[in-house]
């Protein structure tokens, strides 16, 4: 009996399959856990918890140090290779989520625009790559009378096959344009209304991808686009499982892993410059008080559109690499769930903080991908942990220093007031 089986059996309880019996058992468990926490809190001697606190502080120091993070990022996949390919593929997925989280952080964290449809950008990027690096466009032209295009592109492989060096930025640019298009009608909206509208745009994108096999087959409907080219540099194909470095075989995921790592570094560099630029300060002003920002002479319209565009750009790039790594894309991969997962990463990490977004994506990503992957149990555990996480640490793991200060001011905690240096008596 594996650990997961034992865990499942434990959650299921000893009273059979009746949902009410299971509910009663789980309520009992939750109650017991709550009581234990209540009893234990404040009674455990400090020495006993010292190792835990020390580990927490150590983790925090490591996670705040970008060089340590980079070192882990460089060598983690090599260690993971020793344990077989699964962990590496999980880590690669999480990397894509890191890219998405850093991008969404621009929209939600910097500018304060709650976007629940971020997956749309990811989808646009993936479809742009998919269309221009697969036989799909040739398939379209076969159905219509416009043979001109198809004749010009029928080579050894029909369809467009543009290099990734062009295509990845192009996918980003297309997603950025899409961001502006979504942004224009929603400029007047704020807060939760904006969330619902962006959610709607995300779903609309997916529904269109799902149904645009008629009247002209553009996206190939629910089956998605297949035979997408892997990333190639010169004659080195990232998707070729037979690549070798000396005696070591290089699995495709490893190639993509380092490609995305490079992109993450580039993205974090650009975004942290943006944050400290005039634009970044204007975004922060819009987040804090849009009306005041406008009065202060900030062009809120253009800057909000710029936030959508730059957020979209990174999402689109992530989508393009995703398409290349998977070889196929289908509308089902662009469910609302992805948007929500990315948002959770940003909020759990600490909104508006770039290290927060990175660490949030890593922690939440591992939580999600490594929870027992039994059909629905994973989401059950994930949902429960999410609530717990946000209640224990509502400001996120690594909130930006500025944000943290604001929160402290707002709370007016008496202990903080007492600790603050007062005027000399």
């Amino acid at each position: 009996m594996s650990f997961v089986d034992a865990f499942v059996a434990f959650l299921h309880g000893p009273f059979g399959n009746n949902p009410f019996a299971i509910l009663a058992w789980q309520a009992l468990l939750a109650g017991a856990a709550y009581l234990i926490v209540r009893l234990v809190r404040g009674r455990v001697p400090r020495q006993a918890t010292a190792p835990v606190r020390l580990a927490g502080r150590g983790a925090s120091v490591v996670l705040r140090n970008r060089y340590a993070l980079l070192l882990i990022g460089l060598f983690l996949p090599l260690i993971e290779l020793l344990t077989g390919g699964y962990l590496l593929s999980v880590t690669y997925s999480i990397e894509l989520y890191v890219l998405l989280a850093v991008g969404l952080n621009i929209v939600v964290g910097f500018t304060g625009l709650l976007d629940l449809g971020y997956v749309a950008f990811f989808a646009v990027g993936a479809y742009v790559y998919g269309l221009f690096a697969s036989p799909q466009l040739y398939e379209i032209t076969k159905q219509t009378t416009y043979f001109l295009v198809s004749q010009s592109v029928v080579g050894p492989q029909p369809g467009f096959h543009i290099s990734m060096l062009v295509l990845i930025p192009l996918a980003g640019a297309a997603a950025a344009l899409f961001g502006v298009l979504i942004g224009i009608p929603t400029l007047r909206l704020r807060g939760d209304y904006l969330a619902i509208v962006t959610l709607g745009f995300g779903e609309i994108t997916r529904i269109f991808a799902n149904n645009l096999d008629q009247p002209i087959n553009i996206t190939n409907g629910p089956n998605g686009i297949i035979n997408i080219d892997p990333v190639t540099i010169g004659s080195y194909s990232f998707g070729n499982p037979a690549n070798h470095l000396g005696p070591f075989q290089i699995p495709p995921f490893l190639n993509y892993y380092y490609l995305v790592l490079l992109l993450i570094l580039l993205t974090v560099f650009i975004v942290s410059r943006l944050e400290r630029s005039r634009v970044g300060r204007a975004w922060a002003a819009i987040r804090e008080d849009e009306t005041a920002a406008q009065v202060a002479g900030i062009n809120t319209r253009n800057l909000k559109l710029l936030a959508y565009a730059s957020g979209g750009f990174f999402g689109g790039m992530a989508g393009a690499i995703y398409a290349a790594g998977q070889h196929l894309i289908a509308p089902d991969s662009f469910q609302l769930f992805v948007s929500i997962l990315v948002l959770v990463m940003v909020v759990a990490g600490g909104m508006g903080s770039i290290p927060g977004a990175v660490v949030g994506a890593i922690v939440v990503g591992f939580l999600y991908f490594l929870s027992p992957s039994l059909l629905y149990l994973r989401i059950l555990v994930f949902g429960g942990l999410l609530v717990l996480l946000i209640i224990v640490r509502p400001q996120g793991f690594l909130p930006s220093a500025q944000r943290e200060r604001e929160l402290e001011e707002k709370e007016e905690d008496p202990s903080l007031v007492a600790a603050a240096p007062g005027p000399a008596p």
């Binding site: 509910l23 008629q214 999410l386 609530v387």
Partner: protein, 323 residues
């Protein structure tokens, strides 16, 4: 071009349109009941209670369970069907109310002073948890009730309204009128309106805010329980229904002007109409380009247009700046 015109006019008969109107209004009445839960919570806490749709979903499963216990079939006599349905409604209302109360207490109350997005994340977590719980321990398939109240009333030509639809309409209107009276006339309702207007001032005036918020969740969730019974009379359920129905109900609440009870009702009817007319005529009206697969696109497009051009909703309850 001629073909398109033919297509457009071929499906359009007065009878067909009338039938779709009836279907739309009954569907909308259920949306409206769910919308009230969103509307009330948003009014009091300014929080999109993402888990509300899932409370409704749990309600539909309670209804399934109760009717299953009594072995109702399509041929059961009315003397059995009506008490069982009443029992199912009471059970669903009670369970949903307890659930709503618990969710608020566990997942939202500790976050009342947290950053604005924290409760939303918590709500999403609860929503996932409930959906996965049902899928893991109850069922992840589609379920329908047998046709319990068969029969219909002929209205005009071959247009009919089914008994079930009459029941849906009447009960949702009764519930809404009842709720309106509750909010207008009782001290609890006064407290809710006060908290919605200004939380701090209400507290200073002696309103027990925790109690008001708890009751808001209890009432909203109980209404979701009623909606669950009505929904099950005519539609099917599975663990994801909460998200879809919830999203539409929220749309209805926004269309009508969030925080406004008659507005939620109006919004629900409008959305139900848009959906059923859209599903029936979009394919022909767009010359076959858009199939009924785009149904949800139109619901969202409707919401987006509404928010862009009239963000305070039809009934204009609150100022858009606050949202």
């Amino acid at each position: 071009m001629q073909r398109c015109l033919d297509l457009l006019t071929s499906g359009l008969t007065p009878e067909g349109i009338l039938q779709q109107l009836i279907n739309g209004v009954t569907l909308g009445s259920v949306y409206a009941l769910i919308a009230l839960g969103y509307s009330m919570v948003y009014g009091v806490l300014e929080l999109i209670n993402f888990a509300h749709g899932d409370v409704f979903m749990i309600g539909t499963f309670v209804v399934l369970g109760v009717t299953g216990q009594f072995g109702l079939t399509g041929t059961s006599s009315l003397a059995l069907v009506i008490p069982v349905l009443l029992l199912a409604m009471i059970a669903a209302m009670a369970l949903c109310a307890v659930l709503g109360f618990t969710i608020e207490k566990v997942a939202y109350r500790p976050l009342r002073r947290a950053p604005r997005l924290a409760p939303l994340i918590s709500a999403i977590g609860v929503s996932f948890f409930l959906e996965a719980w049902i899928a893991t321990y109850v069922s992840s398939r589609d379920h329908t009730l047998p046709n319990l109240l068969a029969g219909d009333i002929p209205l005009y030509a071959d247009v009919t309204i089914r008994y079930v639809q009459v029941l849906m309409l009447v009960s949702s209107v009764v519930m809404m009128v009842g709720l309106q009276q509750l909010v207008r006339r009782t001290s609890l309702g006064r407290g809710m309106r006060a908290v919605a207007q200004d939380r701090e001032a209400a507290e200073l005036m002696g309103v027990n805010m925790d109690r008001v918020i708890s009751f808001t969740f209890i009432i909203g969730s109980a209404l979701a329980g009623v909606a669950a019974v009505l929904w099950m009379l005519n539609y099917s359920t599975n663990q994801t229904i909460g998200f879809i129905a919830g999203l539409k109900a929220f749309t209805a609440a926004v269309i009508g002007g969030i925080g406004n009870i008659p507005g939620a009702m109006l919004g629900g009817f409008l959305l139900g109409l848009a959906e059923s007319l859209g599903a029936a005529y979009i394919s022909n009206a767009s010359c076959g380009i858009f199939s009924s697969a785009y149904e949800d696109v139109f619901a969202f497009a409707f919401l987006i247009l509404m928010l862009v051009f009239r963000p305070s909703g039809i009934m204009r309850e609150r100022v858009s700046q606050r949202a």
